[in-house]
């Protein structure tokens, strides 16, 4: 059926009754096929053609609108759209026009295929992936020849020394990864992880962001009410303002929280006299996998980590009462200094943060 009644009708696959197939064509599958409206009705075919072309045309129009919008809409402008709310105008219009332009190219192409290209199923034969016996013999012969001619099997010491050389040559590449961490001689991760900036007499200062420690001498116990929570850092953080890496590092290990409860409510602590009149200092780094933890329920004295819900009882030595953490929250022993400010008595007595092999 190669002569279409109307040039607009879709082409039909060529197949002749005697089973031969024109070059580039495939045999039609021997299954029932129902023609589409566009296969027989020229008006429907022309309508489909116009539909496809108008999608492509719409795409072009949207591109023009995109360019205009890009140039004219201020990047900070806001617009109200029902359901979506108050949203960025530039992002909305650029997204709709760009997205629409691309979408209609796709929709047009697919409508073209569905309505105007033949939908008669054709057949192609599969062949087993396995090669023929002669090819297998040829390949095997090549392998034998290669083995013979290279002498790989015969020259034992060549073979062994080659394998040795190949096995060893990647080693420099691996060795050169050593300076991924440029450490000082004798530095040992476990030791580094086991100490923080806290020491005897180190003043505690409230965390207020970048200027922590500036213009403040410390925290007085009167400033913390019962039920209070203060995120705090050692005073030495002030000296690290210019060194962002050191600043972040210290925040990641020396950060603490101060909580105050009625001294009657403290059931146990990690050490005798580590609190000050009901004010307790605990590490702010969770002992599970290291998220900062500051969700303090002041009536239950529970400290909850948002990451995996490890819960610690700060009135009971920071013991784990729920969740996947295996270690209690380390407590920082504190006291009052001569000027009436809260200071640490010493560093933490156990490593803060997540457990590690050498922790002990």
């Amino acid at each position: 059926m190669s002569d279409n009644i109307d040039a607009n009708l879709p082409a039909q696959p060529e197949h002749s009754g005697d089973g031969t197939v024109k070059p580039g064509y495939l045999p039609v599958a021997p299954i029932e096929h129902k023609p589409r409206v566009t296969d027989t009705d020229p008006k429907a075919a022309r309508r489909a053609e116009r539909q496809v072309a108008s999608m492509f045309a719409l795409s072009m129009i949207l591109v023009v609108v995109f360019v205009i919008a890009y140039v004219t809409i201020d990047v900070t402008a806001v617009v109200y759209v029902p359901v979506l709310g108050e949203i960025g105008a530039s992002n909305l219009v650029l997204g709709l026009t760009f997205g629409g332009a691309i979408f209609f190219i796709g929709a047009g192409a697919i409508q073209w295929a569905k309505k105007l290209m033949p939908d008669v199923e054709v057949v192609q034969e599969r062949h087993s992936m396995e090669s023929s016996t002669s090819e297998e013999t040829e390949a095997a012969g090549n392998y034998e020849r290669g083995k013979e001619e290279s002498g790989f099997a015969r020259y034992k010491i060549i073979r062994r020394s080659l394998l040795g050389a190949m096995a060893l040559f990647p080693i420099p590449l691996i060795v050169m990864l050593r300076d991924l961490w440029q450490s000082e001689p004798g530095q040992n991760p476990a030791e580094i992880l086991s100490s923080t900036s806290w020491n005897d007499g180190m003043r505690i200062v409230p965390d207020i962001g970048h200027d922590t420690g500036e213009n403040v001498q410390g925290i007085r116990p009167e400033e913390i009410p019962v039920g209070g929570l203060v995120s705090a850092l050692p005073m030495s953080i002030k000296d690290l303002k210019k060194d962002a890496v050191a600043n972040m590092r210290d925040r990641g290990k020396s950060a603490i929280i101060l909580v105050r409860m009625d001294p009657e409510e403290i059931r146990s602590q990690q050490g005798e006299g580590w609190d000050y009149q009901g004010i307790l200092a605990y590490s702010k780094i969770c002992t599970h996998v290291g998220c900062p933890i500051a969700l303090y329920e002041h009536r239950t004295h529970h400290l909850l980590c948002p990451c995996h819900q490890s819960t610690f009882d700060l009135a009971d030595s920071g013991d784990v009462i729920f969740g996947p953490s295996a270690r209690r929250m380390p407590q920082l022993p504190i006291r009052l200094d001569e000027e009436g400010f809260l200071v640490a008595q010493s560093d933490f007595q156990e490593p803060i943060g997540p457990s590690f092999w050498e922790r002990g």
Binding site: G24, L26, A29, I31, E32, Y70, V75, L84, S90, N91, G95, L96, F98, G99, G100, A101, I102, F103, F104, G106, A107, A109, I110, W112, A113, P118, E121, V122, V123, Q124, E125, R126, L177, L180, W181, S183, P189, G209, V245, M248, R251, G252, K284, H288, V289, G290, C291, P292, P306, C307, H308, Q309, P324, A326, P354, S355, F356, W357, E358, R359
Partner: protein, 585 residues
């Protein structure tokens, strides 16, 4: 290629000359002759891999644009862009450049959102495509290697996503990095050293963002592109599998040719996926990093979750009981090591080797190009559903605090419930799935033997009521009879006739039991005699119904319950009614 046709369009003439030019240098006509008419089978589920491919291309294009503006540096700067609530705040250059893209570069936020949405879609499409391949058995010989490439691609997709969303260095994704540091540290023996090497020293250091950047734009996409190429070449040369149906055998492909149909459909689908992502990014906000603020290791937000595809690992960390052992001064953190290293390790390894396991267990060495219906492989389907349920529970656990606040639950009770469900639900899901598959197999067998219920009730002359069954049409017959023969491997002998002990008795015995587990319960196909008996039965019924069909010629209407209403002059006849009801089945 001759161009003697003088009525050819000028573009065609130039094209033909060009094709000859290339062919004389590369022999391209050989390739084109074989491949322009390559046949691909048609089914919507075959497009899932395409969604993955196209969303990956969108990720690549938008990502390239982003690299022109993003700065992978942890150096501290003070923000002075147009987002007021962060004005004057200290932050890393990485975060500041992300804010710059989002607020001060026209179209920047659109591209950034397209990149992120498309990444979510990419991983989702990879997962659903993997399920389709699994449940239809498309991973069987000769496609086991392609399955392994696919599993590798899945892992790389997760790596690409994780390294990517950590780049803005915001509080949410930075907390995720903090968790990774904790996980690395927990690894026995080498953990602390590994953590220090990855981060270039103590956490967080000044290196990690630029290292993640090089992984994210170079290493991981390079590997993904290479593996996608291998993946597609294998699909191309092995030819795509197809669902059973009329005209389809294990040795052919029935469908449409690449040129022009699939070029149009696949090319069009690329634009559709691209377009949907762009439309979405104009309409729906994703990852508002400005709300979370710049990363600092001593702050955190409630509702800390990773992107959805890492959520299951977070959930595993949440549900794991707090087991830790200390031996001779050394700590093994089972509570971290098991959920983050052991569980995914087992899952991905099992996934990669599943085709070989199934082939060994069933003794199936044939090439399979026709897809299985999931019901015909009840154990495989059950295993798949079990894995999805296991994964889904972990996924839910990853968002347990949001579930708790949305549904007014206690996170403690929820966590305990999910712990129990994690153990109990997967085996339950396996049993239910397997039983359902076997029931469906029985129903198929009935349909094959007796046809399907037509809804017409016949009263036989001796008074019995029967329901008339309609024979299956061509398509249904092809699909139902495509069920492959599945034989259980024979049980091994402990020793042979000469009393020589079988050295591999245990292995063979295990194999026999596995194959019985896989196929032992399968409903057998009806034999030829049974089908013939069924046919006789149908013929008998047809003979009884035949006189009723005489009414076809008369001008009466038979309503659905078999009553007869005389409406002389009405155009509809029984014949019309019956053909219209046939068309609806």
């Amino acid at each position: 290629m001759s161009t003697t046709n003088t009525t050819a369009h000028p573009v065609e003439k130039v094209g033909a000359a060009g094709a000859t030019f290339v062919d004389q240098r590369l022999g391209s006509n050989k390739f084109l002759s074989r491949n322009l008419s390559k046949v691909f089978p048609e089914h919507w589920s075959f497009m899932l891999g395409e969604i993955a491919l196209y969303s990956f291309i969108v990720v690549l294009l938008t990502g390239t644009y982003l690299t022109l503006f993003y700065k992978p540096s942890m150096a501290e700067v003070i923000y002075d862009g147009s987002y007021v609530p962060l004005n004057g705040i200290y932050m890393s250059e990485a975060y500041a450049s992300t804010l710059n893209i989002s607020f001060d570069i026209r179209g920047g936020l659109l591209i950034r959102q397209m990149h992120h949405w498309s990444a979510l879609i990419f991983v989702a499409a990879v997962a659903v495509h993997m399920f389709r391949v699994f449940f239809t058995g498309a991973f069987r010989k000769p496609r086991e290697l392609n399955w392994i490439v696919g599993v590798a691609l899945t892992t790389l997709a997760l790596a690409a996503g994780f390294t990517g969303y950590s780049l803005p260095d915001d509080l949410l994704s930075g907390t995720g990095l903090q968790i990774i540091r904790g996980i690395l540290q927990s690894i026995p023996l080498i953990g602390t050293w590994l953590a220090f090497f990855v981060f270039g020293g103590e956490y967080p250091g000044g290196e990690i963002i630029s290292r993640l950047y090089s992984a994210h734009i170079l290493l991981v996409p390079g590997l993904i592109l290479a593996l996608i190429t291998v993946h597609l070449i294998m699909v191309w040369t092995q030819k795509h599998t197809q669902f059973p149906g009329p005209g389809r055998t294990n040795n052919n492909v029935v469908g449409y040719p690449l040129l022009p149909i699939y070029m149009a459909k696949a090319g069009g689908f690329f634009f559709i996926v691209f377009g949907i992502v762009a439309l979405l990014s104009g309409l729906v906000n994703i990852n508002p990093v400005w709300i979370f603020g710049p990363y600092t290791p001593d702050q955190v937000t409630a509702g800390t979750q990773p992107d959805w595809y890492i959520g299951w690992l977070d959930g595993a960390l949440r549900l794991m009981p707090n087991w830790e052992t200390v031996i001779a001064g050394f700590t093994i953190s089972w509570n971290v090591f098991i959920p983050s290293v052991v569980v995914p390790g087992i899952l991905f390894t099992g996934l990669a080797f599943y085709p070989f396991l199934e082939a060994w267990a069933t003794g199936d060495k044939r090439e399979h190009n026709l897809l299985d219906r999931p019901r015909n492989a009840p154990v495989r389907t059950g295993i798949g559903v079990m894995a999805i349920v296991f994964y889904g529970i972990l996924w839910l656990a990853g968002g347990n605090d949001l579930v708790a606040t949305t549904f007014d639950l206690s996170i403690n009770a929820l966590s305990w419930t999910l712990r129990v469900l994690l153990i109990v639900a997967p085996p339950l899901a396996f049993i239910i799935t397997k039983r359902t598959c076997l029931s469906l197999q029985r129903r198929d067998r009935d349909k094959l033997l007796h046809g399907y219920e037509s809804g017409r009730i016949l009263r036989l002359p001796h008074g019995e009521f029967v329901e008339v069954h309609q024979p299956l049409n061509e398509k249904e017959l092809a699909v139902i009879s495509s069920k492959p023969d599945t034989a259980v491997l024979p049980a091994p002998e402990k020793s042979d006739a000469d009393r020589v002990r079988n050295p591999r008795y245990l292995v063979h015995s295990l194999r026999h039991r596995l194959s019985a587990f896989f196929y032992g319960d399968n409903i057998p196909r009806p034999t030829a005699q049974e089908i013939e008996a069924g046919q006789h039965h149908a013929d008998d019924q047809a003979a009884v119904e035949a006189p009723l069909l005489e009414y076809e010629e008369r001008d009466v209407i038979v309503n659905a319950h078999g009553g007869v209403l005389h409406h002389p002059g009405m155009p509809t006849t029984n014949a019309d009614q019956r053909t219209s009801s046939d068309n609806n089945t």
